[in-house]
Symmetry: C2
Subunit: 134 residues, 2 copies
DNA sequence: TTATTAAAGGATAATAATTATCTTTTAAGC
DNA sequence: GCTTAAAAGATAATTATTATCCTTTAATAA
């Protein structure tokens, strides 16, 4: 989906900086604030870290993006999609998404616990295919 | 399991501070460093925050405890057990464990992705039974 | 278009969380 | 009881994040 529309639908003003952030997230998938800062500086020489934090927080509040936190890693952000699994390779430090449907798991958990569950943060970590053979 | 043995088995020196930390984790389940600090000060008036951070890190390295990170929360720690689900209530901010076996999920994820998976951090959040009716 | 205005951006200070450093104390093995 | 390496405690340093304040800009309506 077009980033401009995405912003408008979430009641966020369209700015070049925000379009840049979304574009990076679309290309890279999972990004942290520092990565974002370094990449954004190439397009917006004078961008401030504060702007990135403010925008990330605004997009989180409007549920346009989600935060993924995992042991030993800085918070990562990605554009919202269906509940899914994040795979993390401890060797190359890459995050990727795995599209296994988590509905069943969430439903089971909900029934067993009587919780009304809304969000998931599922990170499985280990070694990716490449790093296993090193 | 007895905390003294637990420490020895993980090649960690037995100290009163460490026994205190484990005791608190056993009683409370999920704790963060600040909680730990406040609670420990009652037993060890002069305990230093640095001691807590150092011990938590040492126990993490030796895999005696694990770290649970979730959006909007400070890192929580608990004694290692089988892979399981953490439920988080956004209203009362309580973490609890749910014993649903995650083996199948992890195996599926492993097969689909060819990752060699070792660790899981699974947090589902929403409203607990009590907080739904408020 | 242009004028208006609330919101966003940028610079930087302040705060919070965590790690590093150094000295003193203590657990573990002889 | 000694000895010694590791742990504790105090505190400085670092890192991550938020707050503040002033300037600039996107959205809207004349």
């Amino acid at each position: 989906m077009n980033s401009e529309l995405l912003l408008r639908e979430h009641d966020l003003k369209v700015t070049p900086q925000r379009l840049g952030i979304l574009s990076l997230m679309k290309i890279r998938g999972h990004v942290d604030v520092e990565e974002l800062f370094l990449a954004m500086k190439k397009q917006f020489a004078s961008i401030s870290l504060a702007t990135l934090y403010k925008n990330v927080n605004a997009m989180l509040e409007k549920q346009l993006i989600t935060e993924i936190k995992a042991p030993n890693f800085k918070a990562k952000y990605e554009i919202v999609k269906e509940p899914h699994i994040h795979l993390l390779c401890k060797e190359c430090n890459e995050f990727v998404d795995l599209d296994i449907n988590l509905e069943t798991l969430i439903d089971d958990a909900s029934k067993k616990s009587n919780y009304q569950l809304e969000e998931s943060c599922v990170v499985l970590s280990g070694l990716c295919e490449k790093c296993q053979t090193k």
